[in-house]
Symmetry: C2
Subunit: 349 residues, 2 copies
């Protein structure tokens, strides 16, 4: 398979991107060709730092860069020769099977949506992320793509994320939950109440609402949320981990006894850090797009880039998008047959 990588996207680009690519290729996975898209000179300079250049790498020059805080829609329109849009063009032309970028999330969403379009039957794409749970992992979707969703979008996210949990995380019968402000069915806002009603009609293993308190209680393998809430929750969890680690470190350094304790127990701290490290989870996946798009986070380390490439390869190998189209088709056929979901009879009937 061929993968296109936006070499210039991210807080530490191109260095971390190129380093991650080099690491991934050393592991000899299924990648036949890896397009590094970006400023040729800068990418070449970075590549040289990692020894002989792997023959699978091909640099595709792009003269522009969409910065992390550029306005998404305008920058995609204006910077026609940006590394991000050029990388997506490779997927559009069928030269690459997937694209990986650690750049501007909004620009990636915009360009992917605009150039690749959505999959047949999918109304709006959404961003799926993997989060750790006590026993395993769960998929949170949408983590920030579709800011004014309708209930039907959330249902489609449930279908796509359930397939993610099943196919990529190897979860046999994913439990799908709807994020709300309480577990009771009647709790929520207009959007979640309607989504709840629709989700009950699907073939999904829908387990009802969960709220923030249950997030890590191993009650669901898929958590559906609207983009604003998903983004808020994801980031709030990350900053809570960070601030708690900071506070603990401060407290541990307050006296020599505690410091000694910290040294003796440092294996435990490292294990926890690994468990909570977003770099381990390979980035977010933009699902519902006619093409595999992986968004590594902005501050991606080489390890994060390597893991994003691993995830991209898994999606390509599993023919993931073909399965989404099938599942969405089944869902639409089923709700057409279901008497509950039919529009109410008109007054003249």
């Amino acid at each position: 398979m061929n993968i296109a990588v936006d070499a210039m996207g991210g807080d530490f680009a191109p260095q971390n991107i190129v380093a991650g690519v080099a690491e991934a290729l050393r592991q000899n996975g299924p990648i036949a060709r890896l397009y590094l898209v970006g400023n040729r000179d800068r990418v070449q300079a970075e590549l040289r730092r990692h020894g002989p250049v792997d023959p699978r790498i091909e640099i595709v020059h792009a003269s522009e860069v969409i910065a992390m805080h550029d306005p998404p829609v305008q920058s995609v329109r204006r910077k026609k020769d940006s590394s991000l849009t050029r990388a997506i063009d490779l997927v559009k032309r069928g030269e690459a099977d997937a694209v990986v970028s650690a750049g501007n999330t909004g620009a990636l969403l915009t360009a992917a949506h605009l150039k690749l379009r959505t999959l047949e039957g999918v109304d709006r794409p959404g961003l799926a992320v993997v989060m750790p749970s006590p026993r395993n992992m769960f998929v949170l979707m949408d983590a920030g793509a579709n800011l004014e969703p309708h209930a039907i979008n959330l249902v489609q996210y449930g279908i796509m994320a359930s397939l993610y949990a099943q196919q990529i995380l190897r979860c046999a019968k994913p439990r799908v939950a709807l994020f709300s402000i309480g577990t009771e069915e009647m709790k929520g806002n207009e959007l979640t109440l309607e989504a709840h009603r629709l989700l009950k009609q699907t073939q999904l293993n829908f387990v009802g609402n969960i709220d923030g308190h249950d997030l890590f209680a191993d009650m669901a393998d898929v958590v559906i949320a609207d983009a604003f809430v998903g983004n808020a929750v994801l980031k709030a969890c990350e900053s809570t981990m960070r601030v708690a680690a900071g506070w603990l470190k401060e407290e541990l350094r307050r006296n020599p006894l505690r410091l000694l304790g910290m040294l003796l127990a440092q294996g435990a701290f490292k294990a926890l850090k690994r468990k909570a490290d977003p770099d381990e989870y390979g980035g977010a996946v933009l699902l519902g797009i006619n093409g595999i798009c992986i968004k590594a986070h902005g501050a991606s380390s080489p390890k994060a880039v390597k893991n994003a490439l691993r995830v991209a390869a898994e999606f390509v190998e599993g023919q993931f998008n073909e399965h989404i189209v099938e599942e969405i088709k089944k869902f639409h056929a089923q709700i057409q047959q279901s008497p509950i979901a039919q529009p109410p009879l008109s007054a003249t009937a």
Copy 2:
């Protein structure tokens, strides 16, 4: 001052409620009379366990209890003699200056809104909670009251929560931020974009958007969010702390060396636990209601109840609601004068 306490509300009522009340009164604060509202026999039995009954306590019998998962609106309507509604009645009749309940949040919101009404100039009440930040604390509002807010509601929350930070948390010039999915002004959904525009026109010390990543970065003393997002973030942070502590404990117990380290450093763990303990922060405050309403969390310990009583007393002493009315009045006068906020000129003008 007189305080009414819902003795039967909460997961551990009446025992923890009565214990918290007994503890609070032992500290000899400003409370002249404390109404314990609930089943007389059960409250009396609990009281007996704490030695001679404080003469400031008066039991007000209520024959019914609104359970934690009762549907809010219906239960307030049907259970006319519930401890929760009877406690609010005491505030309504002017016999109590504030009400404290650890019971059903939705029922408390409903009953308070219905019986006490909103303060002059306030359109919708909201729930304010205090969260720890690296240097101090910040106020998050709305944490779950108003599920379909308009932008003007969020602005009023900013005004009320800013007053909270100033008057109760002793923050001289509170920095007010709007919770969104990114710090840039153009990031957000329709609601936050409009709220952002309005907040810029207020006299508040508005510092712009923050997102989940900045939550504990000491960038704001007040964080405004809609109820769904505020509730999601609050609970997600709490469960992240809980799950991280659980994982760390598990890792620390994996071998004797780590266990020894944990013992040596236990002071640090305890300090962190205290910092993150919601019981320390005295519960949520329902702001915008014509009466002081404190919502202690459902699983409140006696300490949490005691701290909720302390917060209630602070709000009463500070004549907090009178200040809200003044500030809201100033805001409305100011936006009427401001040319930006006036409706656009009509075509015929």
